[in-house]
């Protein structure tokens, strides 16, 4: 019962995040909306794992959190530099 309530709460918040993705006037609002959506998906997967009684789903939640992070960073970098391979050329302490 509590898992159903948690899932319902998360779905309502997803509706809010989707509204932000659809209406946000500029691109940063949309990136933020996708980021929030990803975190909510992680929560939904974890809660659903408990609803179904199969905790193997948590591997999936880890991957979602990871992919969400990498996607947000990639998109932000593209928006900033218009190019994703932009590096630290000329940086003397270029970490390898």
């Amino acid at each position: 019962m509590m898992f159903a309530a948690a899932a319902a709460g998360v779905v309502v918040t997803m509706v809010f995040a989707m509204a932000l993705a659809l209406m946000g006037p500029n691109v940063y609002n949309r990136i933020l909306a996708v980021n929030v959506f990803g975190t909510l998906s992680v929560m939904l997967i974890a809660i659903y794992g408990f609803v179904d009684g199969r905790p193997e789903f948590l591997d999936l939640a880890i991957v979602y959190a990871l992919i969400n992070f990498i996607g947000t960073i990639a998109v932000t970098k593209y928006v900033t530099f218009s190019d994703m391979g932009h590096g630290d050329d000329g940086d003397p302490a270029g970490d390898i």
């Binding site: 709460g9 998360v10 918040t13 940063y28 974890a46 970098k77």
Partner: protein, 119 residues
């Protein structure tokens, strides 16, 4: 014992749901991009944290709890980093917060980290 665990779970999960809903409502209602970042961080920290602690009570001392802690630590590391990157990108692209006076806007413009305005 089960009763106590269930009550604790209920309490934490309810707290988590309330924070998620408040954060989600803030995403829509607030008009300023930087204020929306604050609302989103509510979901990313308290929303996830409290709900996962509630789930941990249900799982007990097993591998599942360890994985939940792992996800939590990962989200605590990456979510502020993503927010930081996003906010810095927005500042560099002249997305101004909702401030009233022109000198405050100049203060904001001084925090830009690129010398030229990139595309």
């Amino acid at each position: 014992m089960d009763m106590i665990l269930d009550i604790a779970s209920w309490a934490f999960i309810s707290g988590g749901i309330i924070f998620c809903l408040i954060g989600g409502y803030g995403l829509i209602k607030l008009k300023d991009f930087y204020a929306r970042l604050h609302a989103a961080s509510l979901i990313d920290t308290f929303g996830v944290g409290l709900i996962f602690i509630g789930l941990m009570f249900q799982a007990g001392f097993t591998l599942v709890t360890a994985k939940l802690i792992l996800i939590l630590v990962f989200i605590f590391f990456t979510s502020p980093t993503a927010t930081h990157a996003l906010a810095r990108a927005a500042i560099n692209h002249d997305v101004l917060p909702d401030v009233d006076t022109e000198e405050e806007r100049d203060l904001v413009r001084q925090t830009k980290t690129t010398k030229s305005s990139t595309s």
